[in-house]
């Protein structure tokens, strides 16, 4: 009995060794097996939508995974996948890949237009004339058609309805005593909407850099993304937060004690633009994906799933949300914003000690 058991285990360990050998072997076999996949991608340049498609995005996991699934359902020959992180990290990744000539993305969808001007200036994008152009708000479309806004969003103030009795109306309400050490905002060095807000607010009349100095003096807490702001305010860690309207309204819809206001001075507006990379080897599918993102089906999905306002004219907006026409938008020229973007972010980093 004794011997039998030990022999059994020695067999097991021998098996483990064998397994590791095959694992080593697998490494070598992988290289040739990838070649046919590339060949398939080459062939797919015809009109049929097929082949692999990689989207680099800052859109929420829950949403973009659903979009990819629906796209693959509509085009069974295609296989759309995504990589998700904050806008600034997505851009860093693209830039690093550009340096080593190994860009994997076919499409980029991050939060703000200035970032796309940056990508455009780096020859990373190519133009596309989408047939959906006539159906959407053109404020968020690049005049040269290198990128298309997908969901118009606005930054504003979110607050915890259990802790705040009187709803704020102005950005400056966050500089009051009741908001001291009780406010949270997303980091412009991670989040694209936060970076865009930094650019818009600091150049807006009557707001400016003094406003950010005020936030710093009022001991604002800084977290990475909009999602972190929503959590913090929902849990009562902070009573007030600066966040994107869709995140706040989706949080409220899931039962968190949240409400959102569009401050009267105006709201920095972005629209999660999408663009096709200049290096894509699957242009047909990439163009189909842009159209699909602007289609009524996906616009409805974004509204129902994560509380996004549709970019298509005439569609209903989520409850509590204002339409593009109803709110005061702060939208500067994207090229101008791109010029100053890195410098202003650096100034913010210095000021807040990052």
């Amino acid at each position: 009995m004794n011997r039998k058991i030990t022999r059994l285990f020695s067999l097991f360990l021998t098996l483990a060794m064998a397994l590791s050998l095959t694992a080593c072997g697998g490494k070598k076999e992988e290289a040739p097996s990838e070649a046919p996949a590339d060949a398939a991608a080459e062939e797919s340049k015809g009109p049929a939508v097929s082949g692999d498609l990689m989207i680099y995005t800052s859109a929420e996991d829950a949403f973009i995974s659903e979009v990819c699934a629906k796209f693959n359902e509509k085009y069974p020959e295609a296989n759309a996948e995504y990589y998700r992180s904050g806008t600034e990290e997505v851009v860093s990744k693209i830039m690093a890949e550009k340096m080593t000539n190994s860009i994997q993305a076919d499409l980029i969808m991050v939060s703000d237009a200035a970032t796309f001007e940056n990508l455009k200036a780096n020859d990373l994008l190519q133009p596309y004339d989408s047939p959906e152009l006539g159906n959407i708000y053109t404020e968020f479309v690049d005049p040269e058609h290198y990128y298309y806004g997908t969901f118009p969003a606005a930054m504003g103030i979110v607050y915890n309805t259990d802790l705040v009795k009187e709803a704020p109306t102005s950005w400056f309400d966050l500089l009051k005593d009741e908001a001291k050490a009780n406010t949270v905002m997303p980091n412009p060095l991670y989040s694209g909407t936060a970076a865009n807000m930094l650019l818009e607010l600091t150049r807006a009349d009557g707001i400016g850099w003094e406003y950010y100095e005020g936030l710093l003096d009022n001991e604002v807490m800084i977290v990475n993304g909009n999602g972190g702001v929503i959590n913090s305010v929902a849990s009562g860690e902070n009573a007030y937060g600066i966040a994107c309207d869709s995140n706040a309204l989706a949080g409220a819809a899931s039962g968190s004690p949240l409400a959102f206001v569009y401050p009267e001075e105006g709201v920095p507006a972005t629209a999660d633009p999408i663009g096709i990379t200049s290096t894509t080897d699957n242009l047909t599918a990439a163009q189909a994906f842009v159209d699909f993102m602007l289609s009524e089906e996906i616009q409805t999905l974004g509204r129902e799933l994560i509380g996004k306002a549709p970019i298509r004219k005439g569609m209903e907006v989520p409850e509590g949300s204002l339409t593009v026409e109803e709110r005061v938008n702060l939208i500067s020229d994207a090229k101008e914003l791109f010029e100053v973007r890195e410098g202003e972010k650096e100034k913010f980093a210095q000021m807040f000690g990052f």
Binding site: A23, Y190, S235, E237, G255
Partner: protein
């Protein structure tokens, strides 16, 4: 014990000699290709400006006030954490080693919990524990309305989490040192009129300093290596330490970010090596007479106070190791954060999400494949090195062993950067890059964890007597037969526990993966990190709960298997 010398001129002897040298050469080549070449590249990037060797980057960094603050913060956090970790570790080791408390075995295993649950999950758990508006705060508000939860996103928060996650490193080393201290010394002190406290400070503590110093070294190095805890707690508080600073330098794109990050890596490595040397010297200095065997008998009796001490120990263990994990699990069932703790706000949706979302599903798959392959490769390579080291300790083998153990003490973030610099551009002949594939991660895991396996396998080989192998040879067993029928069954328990450690470490690795992952090669650590930094706390908690329960299940299965094994073989499988 005389070693069986191979008969002069015998075919087997020559074959064995050649195969040993072949193995050693292969090992050296692998280590050079996978570790030293990347490190060399890293140094080149750090020390070169416009093609010339230069210290310009360092001069700039070391005069930059921001960088100096990062170094100061790193040292401050690590030193404080080492101090508090040793306070917990030594106290617990003292009671477990010497007091006549009951249920020591259970206490022992409960204390070791942070060794198998990854640090970033424990951090996430403490974030739920201290959350304002969280369960603990809600309950506390009813009892003590004036007390507010301390802010965990702060220096003390990081130090606290480090202390409660790293103390087992000190505890295990001190425990065995305590048990090896001869009772005679303590009796002598008692006879000379020392009370218990005096005896502790005059005899026990000085005699265990070498063990404590070794433990401190491990804590310090492991804090330097840590990425998850300081990223979760430090970034919101704008506290940056070297590992997060290097990470942020690499991912924030700017023209010279790689050379800056490489230079920072060199600084981090220098701090690691210097502190290792100092603590290693201290450990040597205090090496004192010890008995070889661990004396497991209790040395003092608590009598009527026993129940209080036991209760205190269990409360401490419960609060430190279990309550935070319970709050983590609770959060993973929440529908909306802040929506209150009632059934209406509970959902299984977060679990449904992590199992259906392609990213987290991919991560589960990748991490499982990676940890199985890493464990399998490490167990073969590590066991061979360990065997040769013990049985045929030639100079070459010693060199290989000491080289292989280097990567484990090099912070993972440095290894990650070095591998990127070496492997990012396509390989020369096949014009493909393994960068951004799971193989990149596999390489880094194998490099990182092989030494862990060597240590455990060495224990196994040391425990078996060479006479068993000689008996096999005399009975005519060939090489293959000798290994499968004798050596492997004998070294199995220690080897497999090493394999388990490698498996768990690879399953939950974050530091190196955070730099090397890419779309399609997500790992569990990376996805939990991304969910947390994007603010999807409930998803992060759900995935973490799944990981924790999987690890606990694995450990229980392992305990059960080794118990069965012990029953049948009569050997001690630890």
């Amino acid at each position: 014990m005389a070693r069986l010398s191979s008969p002069a001129g015998g075919k087997g002897g020559v074959f064995r000699q050649v195969s040993v040298y072949l193995l050693a050469t292969f090992g050296l080549l692998a280590v050079f290709g996978l570790f030293f070449l990347p490190m060399y590249k890293l140094a080149m990037v750090a020390f070169q400006v416009d093609g010339h060797i230069s210290l310009a980057i360092f001069r700039e960094l070391l005069t930059d006030a921001k960088m100096l603050k990062v170094i100061r913060d790193t040292l401050y956090i690590n030193l404080m954490s080492s101090f508090f970790a040793s306070l917990i570790g030594v106290t617990m080791a003292y009671f477990v080693a010497y007091a006549d408390i009951r249920g020591k075995k259970l206490i022992h295993y409960a204390l070791l919990l942070p060794l198998i649950i990854p640090g970033y999950i424990i951090t996430l758990a403490w974030m739920q524990f201290f959350a304002k508006g969280g369960l603990i705060a809600t309950v506390l508000k009813d009892i003590l309305p004036n007390v507010t939860m301390p802010n965990i996103y702060s220096y003390w928060g990081i130090i606290f989490v480090f202390s409660v996650t790293k103390y087992p490193l000190i505890y295990t080393l001190t425990l065995s040192t305590f048990r090896k201290i001869s009772t005679d010394m303590e009796l002598a002190a008692a006879v000379s009129g020392c009370n218990k406290l005096r005896t502790f400070f005059k005899v026990t503590l000085p005699m265990s300093l070498s063990g404590i110093a070794n433990g401190l070294l491990l804590v310090f190095i492991s804090c330097l290596d840590n990425f998850g805890t300081v990223a979760f707690l430090g970034i919101p508080a704008r506290i940056t330490v070297l590992s997060t600073d290097i990470y942020q330098t690499i991912i924030s794109f700017s023209g010279n970010n790689f050379s800056e990050a490489a230079a920072k890596s060199v600084i981090l490595a220098v701090i690691g090596v210097l502190s290792s040397l100092v603590l290693w010297r201290v450990a040597k200095m205090f090496q004192t007479m010890q008995t070889d065997l661990e004396d497991m008998n209790p040395r003092f009796f608590l009598h009527h106070k026993k129940i209080f001490v036991e209760a205190l120990i269990w409360i401490a263990i419960f609060v430190i190791n279990f309550v935070p994990l319970l709050t983590l699990i609770l959060t993973s069932f929440m529908k909306g954060i802040g929506g209150g703790y009632h059934l209406n706000n509970m959902t299984l949706g977060n679990f449904a999400f992590v199992f259906s979302n392609p990213k987290s599903f991919n991560a589960i798959k990748n991490s499982l494949i990676l940890s199985f392959s890493t464990a399998a490769i490490c167990v073969v390579a590590g066991t061979i090195v360990a065997y040769l080291m013990v049985r045929r300790p030639t100079k070459l083998i010693r060199v290989v062993e000491s080289i292989i153990s280097v990567p484990y003490s090099i912070p993972g973030i440095i290894l990650g950067l070095a591998l990127i610099l070496t492997w990012a551009s396509p390989l020369p002949i096949i014009h493909k890059t393994i960068y951004a594939t799971v193989f990149m991660l596999l390489v880094s895991y194998v490099v990182r964890f092989t030494s862990l396996q060597i240590r455990n396998s060495t224990t196994g080989v040391l425990q078996t007597d060479v006479s068993m192998e000689e008996a096999a040879e005399i009975c005519g067993a060939g090489f293959w037969k000798k290994w499968t029928a004798v050596i492997i069954p004998l070294i199995f328990p220690a080897t497999v526990s090493g394999m388990g450690l490698v498996f768990i470490n690879a399953l939950t690795e974050l530091t190196t993966s955070s730099l090397l992952w890419s779309a399609g090669s997500e790992t569990l650590g990376v996805v939990i990190y991304n969910y947390t930094s994007a603010g999807y706390t409930t998803y992060a908690c759900a995935l973490s709960s799944v990981v924790c329960l999987t690890i606990l299940a694995l450990v229980l299965v392992y305990r059960w298997v080794s118990a069965v094994l012990r029953k049948y073989t009569g050997r001690n499988a630890t």
